[in-house]
């Protein structure tokens, strides 16, 4: 039985699921506990191996192929050897074809133990491999009509997908939907920034009030009183690349940061392509103050020089500098020395790179040259990683 399970896990991995060794051991243990009655076996394997409902459908497909309903267990083993699992699973292929043998088609319909479609909510995640994304849609299962996925579940799935969808794959409609989500994330970032500051200030005792209160308790400072939180004492400077390849990420970062204005003493938004311009957010749109040629080629070295000479006053000891850019400098001089100088003047420098990490330092990307001078270099190619990056910024603020 164990060998069979191991091979089953291998098939799951091939279908795009991420299954760890620990989870495999769990599955082995689970089967030892529940036995091999088919529908229980299916749920036991699912509970131990499928940790995201988005993967459930792929799991069910592989399960159907490996543990066919009507046939005895031995025959399944044989079928497995004959059929193999390398078959193509393009978008057009039906869920039951391609793998296994024909008899399964009939048993699918007849078998009462096949869970009804209603429980197989399909959820999509953007980070699934291309195989998973394509092969997910299967329509017309038994019971679908009655138990179609509830709107709530669908929305939950859409949301998860949007969070993980790379900006470069977003269409105009998705950007619009993401805007709404960004508003929510901005609220969360705001709360996080505020909490960090409150916590940081907790150490500051209000001695005068503590002593006065203690007088009424025989001089014992039973209650510790703290000063009221004051508005932030940090400045935030966001320097974002507005050129085409990073524009979406830049826009979302700006809306996230702009919402947190109250928790910083001052928020300065700067945008660049080849030149530097101050920005503001007006009704959700990025408005540059001053000329900015969006079709120019990014030149970060030149922008750094402009930042230091024209905007040097914004870089102070209590400034957190956030740079968003893909560090693709069109083979122009990177001017690492200027970044180092900027870093020396500020409290922290966080670099957010919308490029997928696998492509960092590939082609004309020089992120590796800049990285040693940043306190953190974080990916920001989708909303989820952008939020992570901002959490890091909030950490640096306190």
């Amino acid at each position: 039985v164990r060998d069979r399970l191991l091979a089953f896990v291998a098939a799951l991995r091939e279908a795009g699921l991420r299954v760890s060794v620990g989870e495999t051991l769990d599955a082995v243990e689970a089967v030892a506990v529940v036995g091999v009655e088919r529908h229980v076996l299916r749920e036991a394997l699912a509970a131990t191996l499928v940790k995201d409902q988005a993967d459930r459908e792929a799991f069910d497909r592989v399960f159907e192929a490996w543990f066919p309903a009507a046939s005895a267990a031995e025959r399944a083993g044989q079928r497995r050897r004959e059929a193999g699992f390398g078959g193509d699973r393009g978008p057009g292929s039906e869920e039951t074809s391609g793998r296994g043998r024909a008899p399964r088609r009939e048993t699918d319909q007849a078998d009462p133990t096949v869970p009804r479609g209603g429980q197989d909510r399909r959820r999509r995640r953007g980070d699934g491999g291309p195989v998973r994304r394509e092969s997910r849609r299967t329509e017309g299962q038994a019971g679908e009509a009655e138990d179609a996925p509830a709107a709530a579940a669908r929305r939950l799935a859409a949301r998860a997908r949007l969070l993980n969808l790379p900006f470069k794959d977003m269409g105009p409609r998705e950007v619009e939907e993401a805007d709404r989500l960004v508003a929510e994330l901005a609220r969360r970032f705001r709360r996080r920034a505020r909490r960090r500051q409150e916590r940081a200030r907790r150490g500051r005792l209000d001695v005068r009030r503590v002593v006065r209160r203690a007088l009424s308790r025989g001089g014992v400072p039973v209650e510790l009183l703290h000063r009221r939180p004051r508005p932030g004492t940090r400045d935030l400077v966001a320097l974002v690349d507005l050129s085409y390849s990073t524009a979406t990420a830049a826009r979302f970062l700006l809306s996230l940061v702009a919402g947190a204005g109250r928790y910083f003493r001052r928020v300065t938004l700067l945008g660049f392509v080849a030149d530097l311009a101050e920005l503001s957010i007006e009704q959700g749109h990025v408005v540059p103050h001053g000329p900015l040629d969006l079709d120019a080629r990014s030149d970060f070295g030149r922008v750094l020089a402009a930042l230091l000479s024209r905007r040097g006053a914004t870089l102070r000891r209590d400034t957190v500098l956030v740079v968003l850019g893909d560090a693709r400098n069109n083979r122009l001089a990177p001017r690492v020395d200027l970044l180092r100088r900027a870093r020396q003047r500020v409290r922290a420098l966080v670099w957010v790179n919308p490029d997928p990490p696998a492509r960092w330092n590939a082609g004309d990307s020089v992120i590796g040259l800049y990285a040693p001078h940043a306190d953190a270099v974080l990916p920001g190619g989708d909303l989820r990683s952008l939020e992570r990056a901002l959490a890091e910024v909030a950490r640096r603020v306190a």
């Binding site: 989870e23 769990d26 689970a30 940790k51 909510r121 400072p221």
Partner: protein, 292 residues
């Protein structure tokens, strides 16, 4: 732990929790493998109820840790009762006992405020620990939870390491407000809990509102089922279905019709926009409810 799968399903039935084999298997495995169970799904599908039912089956206490943003270790694990310690020092001043003895007593269990995680670990018997809405907590707390949930032991510098005598049964719930880490998912058994189908929901209504006309119960279940397929801001939860069923019973309604629906739909839908959406589709929903 010698629970059989049968016993789990019977137990759930006894606590009037209607389930599917999927839910039963997941719960059973969580008990047998002593693994935390991560339950995900839309709000109001009965995730929290699983933990409550589980505590009832095992005839034990439910220790609940409600997560929210900013929840930290001190509030989940323990804190020293600083005020009590101070007063103790004051009271001891007259006795003039050696400091070492006093210090020992100051940092004893007496002055320890046990928060849910520590409570669950130190409980004299096996309890059910519900970590509710873990997606609302911060990532830092999630990492900390992971650590506690893997060894069920806690080190308090002044007291030493406390190890769980009985590993608690752990249920985590999530609405997916934030994606949970892979590590946490790997650590847990997983259960996706969605709204029940119309037939299951009818069973639930029949079980919880027993004196409702069975035909009306079926209509209510089908109506709500159809309602959830609309694009609503907030799909009605099972609890809301039950509220509605109770309201209809109280009003002595015999059959669902357009007038009753208009009168009572605000029991199920709680926002103006949703009510408008539903009223626009009232006829369609009613015909779905009448179909048997």
């Amino acid at each position: 732990m010698d629970v059989e799968l049968q016993a789990v399903s019977q137990g759930l039935l006894r606590c009037r929790y209607v389930t599917t084999p999927r839910v039963e298997t997941a719960i059973y495995l969580a008990l047998r493998l002593e693994r935390p169970l991560l339950v995900e799904g839309p709000a109001g599908a009965g995730k929290t109820e699983i933990a409550k039912a589980l505590a009832e089956i095992l005839d034990t206490e439910l220790v609940r840790l409600q997560c929210y943003e900013g929840l930290d270790e001190a509030k989940t694990l323990y804190e020293w009762n600083y005020q009590a310690q101070l007063l103790r020092i004051q009271a001891e001043a007259a006795l003039a006992r050696p400091w070492d003895t006093l210090r020992h007593e100051l940092f004893s269990r007496e002055h320890l405020l046990e928060r849910p995680l520590l409570l669950a670990i130190t409980a004299p018997r096996r309890v059910v620990l519900l970590v509710d809405e873990v997606d609302k907590a911060d990532e830092e707390l999630e990492a900390f939870l992971l650590e506690v949930l893997s060894d069920f032991q806690v080190t308090i510098p002044e007291l030493g390491t406390i190890r769980a005598v009985h590993r608690p049964v752990v249920v985590l719930t999530s609405n997916r407000a934030r994606e949970l880490s892979e590590a946490l998912r790997r650590r847990c058994l997983y259960l996706w809990l969605d709204f029940p189908g119309a037939e299951k929901e009818r069973e639930i209504v029949a079980l919880k509102v027993p004196d409702l006309d069975p035909r009306l119960a079926a209509q209510v279940a089908r109506f709500v089922g159809a309602l959830r397929k609309l694009d609503l801001q907030k799909a009605p939860s099972i609890a809301e279905t039950l509220d509605w069923a109770r309201a209809l019973r109280a009003m002595g309604v015999k059959e669902l019709d357009a007038a009753t629906v208009r009168q009572t739909l605000n029991v199920v839908l709680k926002s103006h926009e949703d009510l408008e959406t539903a009223e626009g589709k009232a006829a369609q929903l009613l015909s779905a409810a009448a179909r048997s």
